[in-house]
C-alpha cells in the first residue's frame, strides 16, 4: 500500500480533471462524468473525505459489474409543478442530484417550494455538498435519502437491522458561508464503521448493537458477525425512539412518496431521495430570514463554551475552513484511496497526475 509521503498534493481542478477522465474512459456520458468528478472533489474540499474521491473506485467497480449506469436519461414518473417524482434508473447519483437541485431551485423561485422524490438513484454522495448548491442560489434545501436494498439500523426496541442510516442535510444561505446541517438517524455511519473495521479498531463509545441487541463498540458486528448487528439509533438505548422517528420519516418521504422501496425488495446499490427546496422570499422575505438566522448564528457563536478552548460553532463552519484550506493548499487523497485510484487509472489507461 502507498504511504502518505508518496501521495501528491494536487489542486482541486487537477483532481477533478483526473476523475472526470476515469469516469469517461469507463463509459460514462461526458456531462455525467464531469458532474460526478466536480461534486466528489467539492466534497473533499469540504472535508468529508469518506464521500469524496475515495468513492470513485467504488463507483467505477459498480459500473464495471453493471450496477451504476453511466449512460441514460431520467424518467419523469409524475410532474405537477410543485411536486415531482423521478426514476433515476441507477444513473450517477451526483449528476442526478445536480439536475434535481437545478430543477428544484427553478421551481422554488417560481412557487416558493418544490419537492422531488427520486426512486432508483445511484449513490448520491455527501448530502451537504448537494444542499450547498441550492444555498449558493439563495435557497433553503433539505435532502434526505435511504437505501432500500440495505439494512443497517434496527427499529427502536428491535434487534434486526431494517433501515439504512437515513441521513438528512438541511442548509440555508448566510452572509459568510452557508449553514450546513448534516445528520442521520443512526449515531454513526456505515462508512465510519467500515473504516474502523478495516483498521482493526473499536469505536470509543458503544455505537452499535450486536445481533442480540446488546450495545457494543465492535464495528465487526455490522457486516462480519452472525447474527448481524446494527448501528444504534440517534439517542441510543437512552432515547433512541427519537432516531427511530427520524428513520421512519425519511423512509416514508424517500420511498413512500417516490412509490418504490423496501416493498419491492430491490437488490442493487443505490437509493431513494427526498429533495425539498424553498425560497425565503416566498415567505416573510429573504431579508427577514437573514435577520433572524443571522441573529441566531451570532447568538450560537457568542454562547459561553463548556470548554473555553472549544468555542461554539455553526454546522458548516468546519466545512468552510476545510474549503479555504483546500483551495489554498490543494488536496491529498488518503493512501488507500490514491492506491485504488491508481489501479483504475492503469486499467483504464488514464495518466495519474503527479502535481
Amino acid at each position: 500500500m502507498t504511504d502518505t509521503t508518496s501521495v501528491p498534493r494536487l489542486s482541486p481542478a487537477t483532481l477533478e480533471a483526473f476523475a472526470c477522465g476515469l469516469f469517461e474512459r469507463a463509459g460514462m456520458d461526458a456531462d455525467k462524468a464531469a458532474s460526478v468528478a466536480r461534486l466528489l472533489v467539492q466534497t473533499d474540499t469540504l472535508g468529508r473525505r469518506t464521500h469524496g474521491l475515495a468513492m470513485a473506485p467504488l463507483y467505477l467497480a459498480d459500473m464495471a459489474r453493471g450496477g451504476l449506469q453511466g449512460r441514460g436519461q431520467i424518467e419523469v414518473v409524475s410532474d405537477r409543478g410543485v411536486t415531482a417524482v423521478w426514476d433515476g434508473h441507477y444513473l450517477p447519483g451526483l449528476w442526478l442530484m445536480e439536475q434535481a437541485i437545478a430543477c428544484g431551485v427553478e421551481r422554488a423561485l417560481q412557487h416558493g417550494v418544490a419537492c422531488l422524490a427520486i426512486r432508483r438513484s445511484h449513490h448520491i454522495g455527501s448530502l451537504a455538498t448537494l444542499v450547498r448548491l441550492a444555498t449558493e442560489q439563495g435557497c433553503i434545501a433539505w435532502i434526505s435519502n435511504s437505501e432500500p436494498a440495505a439494512r443497517r439500523v434496527a427499529p427502536y426496541g428491535g434487534r434486526e437491522a431494517l433501515f439504512t442510516p437515513n441521513p438528512m442535510a438541511f442548509g440555508w444561505p448566510a452572509d459568510d458561508h452557508p449553514v450546513l446541517i448534516d445528520l442521520c438517524a443512526s449515531i454513526t455511519t456505515t462508512s465510519m464503521t467500515r473504516q474502523l473495521h478495516a483498521r482493526g479498531e473499536q469505536f470509543e463509545h458503544p455505537w452499535l448493537l450486536d445481533g442480540a441487541g446488546r450495545p457494543t463498540r465492535d464495528p465487526a458486528v455490522l457486516e462480519h458477525a452472525e447474527p448481524r448487528g446494527s448501528l444504534q439509533l440517534v439517542g441510543g438505548q437512552d432515547h433512541g425512539h427519537k432516531g427511530y422517528g427520524l428513520a421512519l420519516m425519511i423512509e416514508a418521504l424517500s420511498q413512500g412518496l417516490s412509490g418504490h422501496g423496501r416493498a419491492d425488495a430491490p437488490s442493487r446499490w443505490g437509493g431513494n431521495v427526498w429533495l425539498q427546496v424553498m425560497d425565503p422570499e416566498a415567505f416573510a422575505g429573504a431579508e427577514a430570514f437573514a435577520t433572524q438566522t443571522g441573529h441566531l448564528a451570532a447568538a450560537c457563536r457568542a454562547n459561553a463554551p463548556v470548554d473555553p478552548a472549544r468555542p461554539v460553532r455553526l454546522p458548516g463552519d468546519a466545512a468552510e475552513q476545510h474549503r479555504q484550506q483546500a483551495l489554498a493548499d490543494g488536496l491529498q487523497c488518503s493512501p488507500q484511496a490514491w492506491a485504488a485510484l491508481g489501479d483504475w487509472a492503469q486499467r483504464l489507461g488514464v495518466a495519474l497526475p503527479t502535481g
Copy 2:
C-alpha cells in the same frame, strides 16, 4: 390538594363541554373556545396528559393577565398559495392551528404541498394531536415550533440556554391508525422537567446540564439555579451535534421564514410555528405511498425485539391504545389538574361536572 379518588372519571364529551364553558366565560370567542376545548381533550385521549386539559388553567391564567388573546383575527402577512405567513397575534394556538391545518390540507390537495409559517401564535399544545387532524384527511403533515421568548437548550458545546426544545411531529395516514412521530431537539421537555421538580424527584439519567455545562439529573437547574442550566440536546454529550442540527433547523423554519423571532426579543408566552402538509397523491400516488409505508410498518412490528416482552411498536400505536381506552372508559384528570380546573370553575361560575 384533591386525591385521585375524588376526581371523577368523565366522558371526553363532558370534559370538552366543561372546558369550553370555562374558556367562553373567561372571554374567549365561542368558536375559539370550542376548538381549544376539543383539541385539549383529544390530546388527553391520545395519552399526552401534560398537554391536555392540564394546560387549561395555564391558558386561563394567561388570558387573565392579558397574554393569551381570546378574541381577534389572524393577520395574513403574505400569501402566495403554496406558501403563506400568518401573524397569530397571540390568539389561542390550538384554534389557530385548526385553521392552519384546514388551510394547509385544502392547498396541499390543490398544489401537492403547502407550507405555512406562523409568528406570534399562543401555545399550540400537542403537535401530534394537530398532525393527526391532517392525516384524517389523507395528508402527510409536519409541524414544528419554537418559542423565541424562552431559552432552555444550549447549543452543542455551549453552556447558556438559547433554544427551546423545538419539537417536530410528523405523521401520515395508515389503514389502522395514523403513524404519529413526535420528537424534539432536546432529550426531555420543559413540562417533564417541571413535573419532576414539583414532585421533588430526579431524572433517571443525566438529561440536563448545569450552569457550568456538566450533565445532571437535577430538574432544578433549569429554572431554579443560578447560573441556570439547560436541557441536554438529543444525543447528549456523546452526539448532541445531531440535536443541535434539529434545533437550528426548526428555529430557521419557524422564526426565519415567519420573519419574527429571537432577533425581536419578544417576552410573551407564545411561539412560532412551521406547518407543512403534503398530499401523497401528488407524488407517486396515495396507493403507492400506502404500499411502501404499510410494508415498513409491518416490518417494524415483525422485528425480533431485544426484550421478548416488549414488541417493537410504531409511533402512534400507544396513542391509539390510549384513545380506544379513553373512548370506552372516559378520562380522569390528575388531582393537580382537577384542583386547578375546580378553582377556575368556581371563579368563573361554571358548574364542575360530576360524572
